[in-house]
């Protein structure tokens, strides 16, 4: 009869688990789901990564193209992130223009890139005022089971580390692209995000699943980099949060940043040795 209880009274069902400090899938309140990473699996992209946080799967493909820089910022290239939630990843998304959640996620990723300065857009400039790179970072969710923002930041960071840009020389008027010689991107910072959900204005849980996300009263996402500086504290409304709980989340986020950075380095090394 438990299955009946779960769909008929989802909030009661989750509360009964949270009373014993555990969750329906057996995790503690501050435990992340297993995170697996797969780098460079798309050969048509200049850089790609696939991340699975529990069931939530996000794939990021980066395509570099040539364009001319803006008049105001002649020495800077562009980086254009976009998150898409296709109808494939969950039955709640309909085909058509991106939903508010997809647009909010795109804006979140754009803010994280800008705030954390993960790469300097000056590195993307080829010829000041004439020619520069534009990195289209396309993030797509293949399986939506909650906590989209964490999976997106990890996928983006791993894909940026995997990106190879061909060398471009401007001898005559038209640029010359030499695919043989490629160079990687210089990654200045490693921003990693940790998302939390608040239940009944008090209980704080980490890495919520889609079900837990639908029952939340507030949601908080903290992005930190390796020098423990905060890049984003994104709490889009909901019930208020005290200072101590906010501090609790920040310390959990810094621990998470260490874990993920180790994971990305390990996988990048294993891919390098494999080539």
């Amino acid at each position: 009869m438990a299955a009946g209880f779960k769909t008929a009274e989802p909030l009661e069902y989750h509360r009964s688990f949270l009373k014993e400090n555990c969750r329906p899938d057996g995790r503690e309140l501050s435990e992340f789901r297993t995170t697996t990473l797969n780098i460079g699996s798309i050969s048509t992209a200049d850089g790609s990564a696939l991340v699975k946080v529990g069931n939530t799967t996000v794939i990021c493909g980066i395509k570099a193209e040539l364009t001319n820089p803006t008049v105001e910022a002649p020495g800077k290239g562009y980086i254009v992130p976009n998150v898409d939630l296709p109808p494939l990843c969950s039955s709640r998304f309909r085909p058509g223009p991106p939903s508010e959640q997809a647009q909010a996620a795109s804006q979140f990723v754009a803010d994280v890139i800008e705030s954390s300065e993960v790469i300097q857009t000056e590195d993307l400039c080829i010829e000041r005022g004439k020619l520069c790179w534009v990195l289209y970072c396309d993030l797509m969710c293949l399986d939506y089971d909650g906590n989209l923002l964490d999976a997106c930041t990890i996928a983006l960071l791993a894909a940026l580390k995997n990106t190879k840009l061909p060398e471009v020389t401007i001898s005559t008027e038209t640029p010359e692209v030499n695919l043989a010689k490629t160079r990687g991107l210089h990654i200045h910072k490693h921003p990693v995000s940790a998302s939390f959900c608040v239940f009944d204005d008090s209980i704080l849980i980490v890495d919520p699943t889609a079900e837990e996300e639908s029952l939340k009263t507030a949601q908080l996402t903290v992005v930190t980099d390796e020098e423990d500086r905060l890049c984003t504290v994104h709490k889009p409304g909901g019930t208020s949060l005290s200072g101590e709980k906010l501090q609790e989340c920040i310390s959990r986020a810094t621990a998470r940043q260490r874990e993920i950075q180790k994971l990305i380095d390990k996988v990048t090394r294993s891919v390098k040795t494999a080539q």
């Binding site: 193209e65 976009n82 223009p97 534009v134």
Partner: protein, 311 residues
């Protein structure tokens, strides 16, 4: 080679259950690709107005492909030499049924949702269900970056996928409801429609939707007298070296155990007997693929639950 340039004369053959050829061919349509100046799309983060792909400015152009002798990836020409296929079912937790297929570098994923309530109801829905298909290319899936907005080619492929799957699904068992098939191409390295058909029918079977038979897809590329089975992206878009007739591509959707063709799409210009020979080659290609698909399905069913004790 930009994705869709040059003359495409597409003639589509659609058949219901048995082979009955109703050809409806479109007039010659000329697609010219502009540097992708997308309409202002204010629902996404926008980059510069116009940007070109670096492949337009390559200092040494890609070498022309040999038109006889072994193919670039070592497979033989004029033989049913299909790329090895990696298939998995049941990967997406949210979907009723899902399948992932990898043939060479072509990577496709398909999810099935339903049967669920139809938004728009009309008379035919009362008696039998409705099948909707949506096929999309990820922007990073082709050498030339595609846009997020579904192009006309994606819509065309979705329609062909729908025509190939519709005869194989027992829709009369799902009155008043709708079954949604979503295919996402992660990487396009040739014969995308063929593998999409196979992947979609596998996802339907994994979802527990009743079907008359699985649907397998195979495609060939005819170049003069020689043909290549399961062509890669470069072979598909290569302009022919010898300009004789019989230039074109052919994709067949085939029901293996009922021995029927449910969908046939061919473009280019071919003589009658070349076309029928091509169809026969494709059918042979599908039979080669059949055991791998059955084995993948069996593994998914076993993983879901051990067999019930024989009563």
């Amino acid at each position: 080679m930009p994705r869709n340039s040059g003359i495409i004369l597409s003639s589509r053959c659609v058949s219901g259950g048995d082979i009955e050829r109703r050809t409806s061919s479109h007039a010659a349509v000329w697609f010219i690709t502009f540097p992708c100046a997308m309409p202002t799309d204010n629902k996404r983060v926008r980059g510069p107005e116009v940007s070109q792909s670096p492949s337009l400015f390559l200092c040494e152009p890609a070498g022309a492909l040999p038109s006889h002798g072994p193919r670039a990836d070592g497979r033989q020409r004029d033989q049913v030499d299909v790329r090895p296929v990696f298939v998995r079912c049941g990967l997406v937790s949210q979907a009723k049924g899902s399948a992932y297929i990898e043939a060479g570098n072509t990577k496709l994923m398909c999810c099935v949702y339903g049967p669920r309530e139809t938004e728009r109801k009309d008379e035919t829905d009362m008696k039998c269900g409705r099948l909707t298909t949506d096929m999309r290319f990820a922007p990073f899936s082709c050498p030339e970056r595609g846009s997020w907005i579904q192009g006309s080619q994606d819509k065309d492929l979705s329609l062909m996928l729908h025509e190939s799957l519709q005869p194989a699904v027992c829709l009369h068992k799902y009155p008043r409801s709708q079954i949604e098939v979503n295919v996402m191409v992660l990487e396009n390295s040739g014969s995308v429609l063929a593998h999409a058909v196979t992947c979609a029918s596998l996802a339907l079977a994994d979802a527990g939707i009743e079907m008359y038979d699985l649907v397998l897809g195979c495609s060939i590329r005819q170049d003069g007298t020689s043909y290549v089975v399961d062509p890669t992206y470069t072979e598909e878009n290569r302009c022919s070296s010898v300009s004789s007739e019989n230039q074109g591509g052919l994709t067949v959707a085939f029901l293996p155990s009922l021995n029927q063709i449910s969908g046939l799409q061919s473009d280019g210009e071919m003589a009658e007997e070349t076309l029928t020979a091509g169809v026969r080659t494709c059918i042979e290609g599908c039979y080669k693929l059949y055991p791998v698909i059955q084995q993948a399905l069996a593994k998914a069913v076993r993983k879901a639950a051990p067999p019930p004790s024989e009563s």
